[in-house]
């Protein structure tokens, strides 16, 4: 998968641009959407506690894979949503899910040797969508593009807000 910084910058760019048209979508809500983009990266927990260790402890099969799927995004978006005040639940759930989906789509465009991405729509389908194989996860070009896009959007955003 792309690095976490790139994952966070993609919804930042998209939601900041959207905020120019949507009145309620200010910076605090953009940040909430960015948080959703970090959900698929939670799979890195396997570096700290390996799946085989969990399987041994629990005595049942176990895989962290769903953290990087649509099903995992929806469930974790629900958990995050409940941490906010009740009146914000609809907005938080929508933004966190959106952020998570941008990360899944970005990861779905990276290189796979057999030409098919992971089954990121699980558990709704086991289908592995074809990937355009645009980048590998350690390619700095992806982050450079994301940083440049975020910088440009930040400057434009400040100019637009100053004008208003």
């Amino acid at each position: 998968m792309a690095d976490l910084l790139t994952h966070l910058l993609v919804p930042y760019v998209l939601l900041t641009v959207a905020s120019w048209r949507v009145d309620w979508l200010d910076q605090r809500w953009v940040v909430v959407g960015m948080g959703g983009a970090a959900i698929p990266d939670l799979i890195k927990v396997r570096i700290v506690v390996d799946e085989s260790t969990v399987e041994t402890l629990l005595g049942i099969p176990f895989a962290y894979g769903p953290l990087s799927t649509f099903g995992g995004i929806l469930l974790l978006a629900g958990i995050i949503t409940v941490a906010f005040e009740r009146r914000h639940w609809g907005r938080v759930f929508g933004l966190v899910t959106f952020g998570g989906l941008t990360s899944l789509l970005l990861d779905g465009m990276r290189v796979y040797a057999d030409g098919r991405a992971s089954a990121w729509l699980y558990p709704f389908t086991n289908w592995r969508p074809p990937t355009p194989s645009l980048y590998v996860s350690s390619d700095p070009t992806v982050l450079v593009v994301a940083v440049l896009a975020a910088g440009t959007v930040t400057l434009l955003d400040r100019r637009i807000r100053a004008r208003n």
Binding site: D3, L4, L5, T6, H7, L8, Q27, R28, V31, V32, M34, G35, A38, D41, K44, D50, E51, S52, E55, I60, P61, F62, A63, Y64, G65, P66, T69, G71, G72, L75, L76, G78, I79, V82, A83, F84, E85, R86, V111, Y112, A113, D114, S118, A119, Y122, P123, N126, R128, S133, V136, S137, S138, P140, L143
Partner: protein
């Protein structure tokens, strides 16, 4: 909303997520048609002639191929990849797609370099650490924890 109601909702969602972790492990073969390192270690000969895709750490490179170590579920297997060239150093990570041959060998059809070296991997984790720290600073600039209701609330109301 009362705290205990939110705790019940969170517990329900966590249990469902836990169920998904188990379901994903049980049904893994439906999403990955290829044997993993543990499968290859335990029954290599039964997969000879099949298409495989493995992720592995490069341990040695030669003129026309490389040796990789693939690991899954705490089990590792060493595989020789032939008929391929890739710009990668020992310590780098590759995806290999090809046909499994006898004697722990893959006739590589396509090799993709995930991390060309350990440095590339450190770059990725470094960028991720900066992202995590930056996000936390940004988030708590706009949101705070209300210790009376145990909810996140906007700093400017």
């Amino acid at each position: 909303m009362r705290v205990w109601v939110r705790v019940v909702i969170v517990l329900g969602l966590c249990l469902t997520l836990g169920g998904l972790f188990v379901h994903a492990a049980v049904t893994e073969e439906q999403r990955s048609p290829y044997p993993d390192a543990a499968d290859l270690s335990s029954g290599y000969d039964s997969y000879v002639g099949q298409e495989v895709m493995v992720f592995g750490t490069v341990t040695e490179t030669t003129g026309s191929g490389m040796t990789i170590s693939a690991e899954s579920g705490g089990t590792a297997i060493t595989l020789r990849v032939t008929e391929t060239e890739a710009a990668v150093e020992p310590g780098g990570v590759v995806q290999v797609y090809g046909t499994l041959e006898p004697n722990q060998t893959i006739a590589g059809e396509r090799v993709e370099v995930v991390n060309s070296s350990r440095r590339a991997e450190f770059y990725k984790y470094g960028a991720s650490a900066i992202g995590a720290l930056g996000f936390l600073l940004l988030f708590f600039r706009y949101w705070r924890i209300n210790r009376d209701t145990w909810t996140l609330e906007a700093r400017d109301g």
